[in-house]
């Protein structure tokens, strides 16, 4: 659907061709492994078969005899440096509870050793020949087991830092009261409570984790990686291996998807250590099964939401409790936990009495980490189902209930100040919010009122519509910083160097559009290079919905400075003050005389003719606040009451991401997030054996939505104008995943009257709920 932009602009707001579209579409080698290095070794990892065990001994003598084996690393021959794999800004909020190789393993898939060999076959044979003697320890696979008195302690190492309560297996905890929650519920006319559970799921990025590490001709370590965080890799590898930062270069080529999984620094220190030990390039690429078992997952969560409201629907008290399973290591545990509350609770800011509390708990299961949504999807799952229950109890339309309570422009929430990135946040006022319009348009497109009044029934198929609302952020307040360097060539074109990491989202194109708009040139005149820690300025990386807002603001500032310099040179040529000159259409024009000078002339003069200098600028933007995008989600489902099958018939998502820089890409982000959310709602769940090993670690058995499953999705952008955003823009990457699960659950409830609170909503779970309801009805 077409968007209406506030102001007519030449490049921003236009669906320009993606700057990397042609090479990607024509299969040009662009990705991490599309580079052959002579003499590269193949790196492979030996994983723990046990969920919890001590390594009594490790014998590599037979493995070392395998022809072609160059190096074997394990706890006995590498330095022990605690760190976090989380890939966050410094100082990292996640606990330092990981080392390169440990004497203890904490989940099936934990790394025990790594081999570098001439061939993959030799590396695999060596892995088979490493003899490891384990002392198996009792393991815990649920948060309840992990929190029980006397539970085995997963992190009993003495050198770990930043764990909230290691003896009780609590990686992080939070308890933030605002007002008086008990009094708030007592004063409420209506109280409802919902407990929702989201299981383990996988990012399922198309490109598995991979890396190449080598030393260049100057003896500097080069890491070419499929990553979202090149600068954090440089810092973390420096810490783990003791190599100074200036001796490390990290290159991020094209990335085949990340969704948070590549914010984690998993393979890079291992590959670098193998390269360091052997002096040879080392290539590592995980199989799909390894990605499932040994990388990262969503944070499985149990979220309990209790709402108290007055008769008119005004919320008076909200209690949100989140118990996260962070798996064997605590990467992103605390920050994801904080985000459950910090993203969900401000949405309904009319409630004066709040309490957010919870824990991120260690278990002996795969490691949870950053995943698109980052706690917000867990929070809104509970909150939006509870809102549906509240609307029903009040006899109020669910849209009306949201309209009565949601935050608006000029308003704030105490949560912004209380909850930040794993610590206290900062006060923030909402400067743009079009959620009301999103709800109105969404209701119209799905046919809300008619379908709510007259739910369809066709044979065994019952139809229903449900909705959810959500908000996210745009970067991390007070933490995130991005920089951009813009350099002019003599022909009037530009090079834009950004540390921002386009992971398939199209952010290179968005950033080029921002620069092109300021400089009055088409996007084709901007060559974007991202990212290389040697050649591009710092950027926190692609996470927290930050690139358009944080990196985009840096590009905007750099472009404005370059524009100033261009006008300065043009002023010399035209012999007029810069204030009377206009930069547009690839030239500088005098407002007064109409005389003009091309950018090429400006470039040539600056390079070769007079007052010679390089027209260029580097600018930084530190995130002073994090303006939330808002979205309303409407699902229409059909439920087969005899088998429990659910079909999503239609999905409407209407979002306010400020002024969209590239509407088509923004819609694509929404559509993709909705499809991922449908996967969480209906199919996706990692399953584990009694011993804690992942049993469905392939796409054969772990189902993700394919194009054949995608229903009709209408993604609509309702622009607001965010005054702090580049050209009024806010983020769009994550908000789209926050709503599908509760919207589909609420639609199922409307269709058949059963509340599904444990995702995924499989035919079996739905049929069981229907049969329970039948029995209750019969009494």
């Amino acid at each position: 659907m077409a968007v209406i932009l506030k102001a007519k602009r030449e490049v921003v707001g236009q669906n320009v061709l993606k700057v990397d579209g042609l090479p990607l579409a024509t299969g040009q080698p662009k990705f991490t492994l599309d580079m052959d290095l002579p003499g590269a070794l193949v790196g492979k990892i030996l994983y723990s078969p046990y969920a919890h065990a001590e390594i009594v001994s490790i014998d590599t003598s037979e493995a070392e005899k395998v022809p072609g084996v160059a190096c074997i690393l394990h706890y006995g021959n590498v330095p022990r440096v605690p760190y976090t794999t989380a890939g966050q800004g410094w100082p990292e909020p996640s606990p330092y509870d990981t080392v390169l190789f440990d004497k203890k393993v904490r989940y099936v898939g934990d790394r025990v050793a790594a081999v570098a060999a001439e061939t993959e076959e030799a590396a695999l044979e060596a892995l088979r020949k490493i003899k490891v003697e384990y002392k198996v320890l009792p393991a815990v696979f649920t948060v309840e087991e992990a929190l029980a008195p006397g539970a085995p302690i997963i992190h009993d190492e003495e050198d770990a830092e930043g764990i909230y309560d290691a003896k009780r297996n609590i990686a992080a905890a939070v308890d933030v009261p605002i007002g008086n929650i008990e009094k708030g519920f007592a004063e409420s006319d209506v109280v409802v409570e919902a407990t929702c559970e989201l299981p383990y799921s996988q990012h399922a990025a198309m490109e598995p984790h991979c890396v190449i590490a080598y030393f260049d001709e100057d003896g500097r370590l080069v890491i070419r990686s499929s990553t979202q965080v090149p600068f954090h890799i440089r810092r973390v590898v420096s810490r783990v291996l003791g190599i100074p930062i200036h001796r490390i270069r990290v290159v991020k080529p094209r990335i085949g998807g990340g969704f948070g999984s590549k914010q984690e620094i998993i393979l890079e220190p291992v590959a670098a250590a193998l390269a360091l030990r052997t002096g040879r390039p080392v290539k590592m690429a995980l199989s799909r099964e390894e990605v499932f078992v040994s990388t990262r997952t969503i944070h499985p969560a149990k979220v309990r939401v209790k709402l108290g409201a007055k008769k008119d629907g005004t919320l008076h008290a909200i209690e949100l409790e989140a118990i996260l399973n962070t798996g064997a290591y605590g990467a992103h545990g605390g920050t994801t936990l904080y985000n459950v509350g910090s993203k969900a609770l401000p949405l309904y800011n009319k409630a004066r009495n709040l309490r957010f509390h919870g824990k991120a708990v260690y278990t002996n299961l795969p490691v949870a980490g950053a995943y698109r949504g980052y706690g917000a999807n867990q929070g809104f799952f509970g909150l939006e189902i509870a809102m549906d229950m509240l609307a029903e109890k009040l006899g109020m339309d669910p849209i009306e209930l949201r309209l009565r309570n949601h935050i608006r422009t000029g308003e704030t929430s105490p949560i912004f100040e209380k909850l930040g990135e794993g610590r206290e946040g900062k006060p923030q006022v909402i400067r743009s919010c079009a959620l009301e319009e999103c709800l109105r348009i969404g209701a119209e497109r799905i046919g809300w009122y008619e379908k709510r009044r007259n739910p369809r029934r066709k044979g065994p198929w019952a139809y229903g519509v449900g909705l959810a609302c959500a908000m996210q952020g745009s970067g991390i307040t007070g933490v995130d910083m991005a920089a951009a360097t813009l350099i002019m060539n003599e022909d009037g074109s530009f090079r834009l160097l950004v540390g921002a990491t386009d992971l398939g989202t199209g952010s290179d194109t968005v950033l080029a559009q921002i620069a092109a708009e300021v400089l009055g040139v088409p996007v084709e005149k901007i060559s974007v290079y991202s990212s290389d820690t040697d050649f591009t300025p710092f950027d926190k990386g692609a996470y927290a919905s930050s690139t358009t807002y944080v990196s985009g603001n840096a590009v905007l500032k750099a472009a404005e400075e370059v524009k100033r310099q261009i006008l300065e040179v043009a002023s010399e040529i035209l012999e007029e003050p810069a204030e009377g000159l206009i930069l547009a259409g690839g030239k500088v024009v005098s407002e007064r005389t109409g005389r003009e000078v091309s950018l090429s002339e400006v470039g040539h003069r600056a390079f070769y003719v007079a007052n010679q200098r390089q027209i260029a600028a580097t600018a930084s933007f530190a995130c002073p606040e994090s303006p939330p995008p808002f979205a309303a989600f409407f699902a229409e489902v059909a439920v087969d009451t005899e088998t429990g099958i659910v079909r999503v018939e239609k999905f409407v998502v209407v979002a306010d991401c400020g002024q969209p820089i590239h509407p088509k890409l923004a819609e694509g982000q929404l559509e993709g997030a909705v499809v991922q959310g449908i996967g969480h709602a209906l199919y996706e769940e990692m399953l584990f054996s009694e011993r804690g090993s992942t049993v469905n670690s392939t796409f054969f058995d772990y189902r993700i939505p394919t194009v054949l499953d995608v229903p009709e999705i209408e993604a609509i952008l309702v622009p607001s104008d965010e005054p702090t955003g580049p050209f009024g823009a806010k983020s769009i990457a994550e908000v789209g995943i926050d709503g599908p699960v509760p919207a589909i659950s609420n639609a199922i409830y409307h269709a058949v009257g059963v509340r599904l609170t444990r995702a995924p909503f499989t035919p079996e779970r739905i049929l069981a709920a229907l049969r329970t309801k039948d029995k209750e009805r019969k009494g």
């Binding site: 076959e121 005899e642 429990g644 209906l682 054969f700």
Partner: protein, 283 residues
């Protein structure tokens, strides 16, 4: 790719050559057609791959005995063949559309699906219901058996030394239909049903019903087929069939679905397939 020990690839010109090669490998050779199952195979001992797609076994034709389908015919070729679309009310196309994805159907063969016969697969359920006959050859002779009987034997051992030549699907004066439930499009079945009916003078003259992915492989329900014979097709009969199935079907649990759910839903799918087959047969 797990076939790391493969040393040689052979392009067999005819079935005799393929059989000869198969024997020469003494158990370490594997027949390659679509390669879909071979790629997933856990076998690490395979040294030689013998490609049989050039041996003239890709065809769909009709004769008085029925529809003859060559073993290396791909699922896509079969799906879009005019003869298979006309056969038994279009059940072949109806089934194959629900098997995996187009890209896999373009390489997977009907012979591969018959021989691998995974318990969760859709094609075995259809073949059993249809009374398909399999013809194969080993170095000594050509043999044949109904697929249903074949599946009661250690059939995988047979095809270590033999090559499936073709399937013969008998003509039916009636209609078959197929339904499955998977977790999403392209998934293996949590449960599948293939049912067929023939009507004479308003009564059921014959009935065949097979249920698969229970989680065991597709098997017919002879007690149900017998119960249906001679009855007038109507809603009450289908309801009775559903109840019988829920009462008597052998189902089990696996990580994909519980036996309890399969029991209930098997009855529903049988009722629905029978009703739909009867409706189509009347038309």
């Amino acid at each position: 790719m797990r076939l790391r020990g493969v040393l040689r690839f052979h392009w067999a010109r005819d079935v005799d050559e393929a059989l000869s090669l198969l024997r020469a490998y003494e158990g370490k050779g594997a027949i390659l057609a679509g390669g879909v199952d071979l790629a997933r195979s856990a076998r690490t001992d395979i040294e030689g791959l013998i490609d049989i797609t050039g041996t003239g076994l890709s065809y769909v034709r009709e004769d008085p005995k029925g529809l003859r389908i060559g073993a290396t015919t791909t699922l896509s070729e079969l799906l879009f063949h005019p003869l298979s679309r006309e056969y038994a009310g279009g059940v072949i196309a109806e089934t194959l559309r629900l098997v995996a994805y187009p890209a896999l159907r373009n390489v997977a063969t009907i012979g591969g699906a018959t021989v691998s016969a995974h318990p969760w697969a859709d094609i075995p359920t259809m073949l059993v219901a249809l009374g398909a006959e399999a013809r194969w050859r080993n170095e000594e002779k050509e043999e044949k058996a109904s697929v249903e009987e074949l599946y009661k034997t250690q059939f995988r051992g047979i095809f270590r030394e033999a090559i499936l030549l073709e399937l013969v699907l008998p003509h039916w004066d009636g209609v078959f239909v197929f339904e499955k439930i998977g977790r999403n499009a392209g998934d293996i079945a949590l449960l599948n049903v293939c049912a067929g009916l023939g009507l004479r003078e308003g009564k059921i003259a014959w009935a065949r019903v097979a249920v698969g992915a229970r989680p065991e492989r597709g098997e017919r329900l002879p007690w149900l087929e017998e119960m249906l014979l001679g009855k007038e097709p109507d809603e009450n009969l289908w309801k009775k069939a559903e109840e019988e199935v829920k009462e008597r079907i052998k189902v089990g649990s696996d990580r994909r679905a519980s036996g309890e759910w399969r029991r209930e839903v098997a009855g529903v799918l049988v009722r629905r397939t029978l009703a739909r087959a009867a409706g189509k047969a009347v038309k």
